[in-house]
């Protein structure tokens, strides 16, 4: 008897939560249609009564900055009463947190651009159709706009252009002409008795060789399966080039980030391929020799080939289920406008995606950001499905170990591509 009662209560509760979810959906579609002219803001203010309640998710490191920026946002609209909460959610895991329950996610949230496909497919992002204050596509770097675009539609506001990898080096060991090519670097490193570190067995970095040699890796039309042509003609030459590098003794597979930082701190690596997140630690280790630049070239069939890379951006998205879509959009614009990006660079040292902000002298004189900008010409946004990482990482480990089993390189590549292109269940 009691069990039946519990069952009834439970099912009633489920039904109620469904109804609640549906009714909030209806509200969204009403507030979503706002025009894109200067009067739009006035319309928005006029149509708002009561307190505007918004939740913002920003990374832990960004909490203070975001709160400061939001104070500025509130000051722009003194007639409206706001209740804006800032909570902590790392950009690298935002997708998981948002997709747990989109209706409970923040109205405005920051995320890394590699998560955009899944967020869009789950219907979590409001498309950027009109803007209130500035033209998002024109004021931001082309790469960052591309990263915020899915199927030709813009879904997010570029916030930073600082994710990706490039070359850090000790200028006491390498001259500016040395860092042009890996061959020259290896000669300089051998003379110095130090080594060059890169996470060859990490799929994220392994990409730079194959893409640099002109091979492609991307998403199929379904948006989840990968397409990859690394096993086509010439692919084995790239694999051989990687083996040659890794068996040279001066170019070393560091394995993972911990390996990179251990090597740098111990003075073993006089140059490493890494990203912004290690900038301060590497600067502390290299001291006055600290320098950074684009990735070098590597030798492929006797020719010099520029290494490519994944470029990453941090974006701000508006929740498609936000009850205050208009204000959420306006806030997302404010958090990513030129002035906010300049402030973000000044307080956090993050590279701006805004064209004007990134052209400033202050930004250009930061070695790591300048290196990332130089590498941007050879970088592509990270658009790969989940099946890429494991097969490519295992290929990387085999090549980094010098192909110990002497498997035919073509077989290795075929197996790797089969794994990368495997259907997503």
């Amino acid at each position: 008897m009691a069990k039946k009662f519990v069952a009834v209560i439970l099912s009633a509760m489920m039904v109620m939560s469904c109804i609640a979810a549906c009714s909030s959906d209806d509200k969204d579609s009403d507030s979503g249609d706002s025009a894109g002219s200067g009067d739009a803001i006035q319309d928005l203010i006029d149509s708002t009564d009561g307190t505007v309640k918004l939740t913002v998710w920003a990374s832990e490191e960004d909490q203070e900055l975001t709160k400061t920026l939001i104070d500025g946002f509130k000051a722009e609209y003194p007639d409206v009463s706001f209740d804006i909460t800032v909570e902590a959610c790392s950009e690298s895991t935002a997708k998981d947190t948002v997709l747990t329950d989109i209706s409970a996610a923040a109205d405005v949230f920051a995320f890394a651009d590699d998560q955009i496909n899944e967020l869009v497919r789950a219907g979590a992002l409001l498309e950027v159709t009109d803007s209130y204050t500035f033209n998002v596509s024109e004021e931001n770097l082309a790469g960052s706009v591309e990263a915020a675009t899915v199927d030709g539609k813009l879904y997010a506001y570029p916030m930073t252009a600082d994710n990706g990898y490039f070359l850090y080096y000790d200028s006491n060991v390498y001259s500016e002409s040395d860092v042009e090519s890996l061959d020259a670097m290896m000669a300089a490193a051998a003379a110095d008795g130090s080594k060059i570190g890169m996470c060859v067995s990490d799929a994220w970095y392994l990409y730079s060789f194959f893409k640099g040699a002109g091979f492609d890796l991307g998403l199929a039309d379904d948006g989840v399966t990968n397409t990859c042509n690394w096993n086509e003609e010439g692919g084995t030459d790239v694999a051989q080039a990687i083996i040659d590098l890794c068996t040279s003794g001066t170019f070393v597979n560091a394995g993972d980030d911990a390996g990179i930082m251990t090597g740098v701190n111990d003075g073993v690596y006089s140059a490493v391929v890494s990203g912004m997140w290690n900038a301060q630690a590497i600067e502390a280790a290299y001291g006055d020799g600290y320098a950074a630049t684009k990735l070098p070239t590597f030798t492929l069939n006797g020719e010099q080939v520029q290494m490519s890379s994944f470029s990453g951006y941090k974006l701000i998205g508006v929740n498609a289920m936000s009850a205050q879509a208009g204000w959420a959009t306006l806030l997302a614009e404010y958090l990513t406008n030129e002035q906010s990006q300049v402030t973000r660079f000044e307080t956090r040292g993050l590279g701006p995606s805004n064209i004007n902000a990134s052209a400033s002298d202050a930004v250009q004189s930061n070695p790591a950001i300048a290196a990332l900008a130089a590498q941007a010409a050879y970088a592509t946004p990270q658009r790969v499905g989940g099946n890429y990482w494991a097969p490519a990482a295992s290929l990387g480990s085999i090549l980094a170990a010098g192909n110990p089993d002497n498997t035919a390189l073509q077989t290795l590549l075929d197996e790797c591509v089969a794994g990368i292109e495997a259907a997503v269940i």
């Binding site: 489920m14 939560s17 490191e61 902590a88 911990a258 090597g263 997140w277 290690n278």
Partner: protein, 285 residues
């Protein structure tokens, strides 16, 4: 002959010592890393070059990291402790009540209830994760500690099996003697059965107290993004984000080490009763 036995004992002990060392290496590494002066991860040396206790001090200081939500160790510790204490009280009570009823009372459907609850308990808890989340949301108990306590303790009665097994070993003649002496059902439970069950109560208290310290899945799901509500498991994991590893890895180690303190204290206090309960042996057949 005697000599050969000595040799075999020595070999066995050496083998055991080596195994013990292998087993202890990760723990020793955690301890020495938490006393490292340099922040960040380094895998080239087992023992740090410079020692310092600053990681522990940092955890309890109010800094920018505290307001940012990267290192609210004090708050997380308090949250976890509160949740653990209540979970421990509620679920121990539940388990004892269920076990007593199923072990000593005879009623219609007893066997059926036992079977059903045993089968239900065999499903891993995470299977019901999504449903639990939406139930909690409907009741507005997400991002709340009450919600966490409910999640951890509500179904605990199903884990009656071990405690009931222990109660089954208590002779029914003790219960009958109590009834003849005019003891009520509650009296039997509190004055006769509970004192005899001390060891298993200790086991139950420790295992239910441990749950919130180690659980990540439910805590992450229910507590979400409000870093002031987090438990230690989520907070510590959050320190391992790629962008923070260089600054906070040693803090993570120190924080992980400190988690063992409340659990060790509880065990030390409880151990007395644990041993006492086993040795006192009051059943006189």
């Amino acid at each position: 002959m005697e000599k050969r036995r000595h040799i075999s004992v020595v070999i066995k002990h050496i083998l055991l010592a080596v195994l013990a060392l292998i087993w202890l290496i990760p723990i020793i590494w955690l301890i020495v890393t938490s006393f490292k002066l340099d922040t960040g991860i380094s895998v080239s040396k087992f023992f740090p070059e410079k020692w310092s206790a600053h990681n522990f001090v940092d955890l309890f200081k109010d800094t920018k990291y505290t307001t940012d939500g990267i290192m609210k160790y004090k708050i997380w510790f308090k949250n976890t402790f509160i949740i653990a204490v209540f979970t421990c009280l509620i679920s121990t009570t539940f388990v004892l009540m269920v076990s007593y009823a199923l072990s000593f009372c005879r009623f219609k459907g007893r066997r059926f209830i036992m079977n059903i609850s045993m089968i239900l308990n065999m499903f891993p808890g995470v299977l019901s994760m999504v449903v639990i989340y939406f139930l909690m949301k409907a009741l507005d108990l997400t991002q709340s500690h009450i919600g966490m306590i409910i999640v951890y303790s509500a179904g605990s009665g199903l884990g009656y099996l071990i405690v009931k097994g222990y109660m089954d070993t208590i002779s029914t003649s003790i219960r009958e003697a109590a009834i003849i002496d005019g003891c009520s059902e509650a009296g039997i439970f509190f004055r006769v059965v509970l004192p005899l069950c001390k060891p298993i109560i200790v086991y139950q208290v420790i295992s239910s107290f441990l749950m919130p310290w180690g659980d990540f899945v439910f805590a992450k799901l229910i507590l979400g993004t409000n870093s002031s509500k987090w438990t230690l498991a989520i907070g510590l994991y959050n320190m391992l984000d790629k962008s923070r590893l260089n600054a906070h890895f040693t803090h993570f180690c120190a924080g992980g080490l400190l988690v063992s303190i409340p659990i060790s204290i509880l065990f030390l206090i409880m151990q007395k009763y644990y041993v006492e309960g086993i040795t006192s042996g009051s059943s006189k057949e």
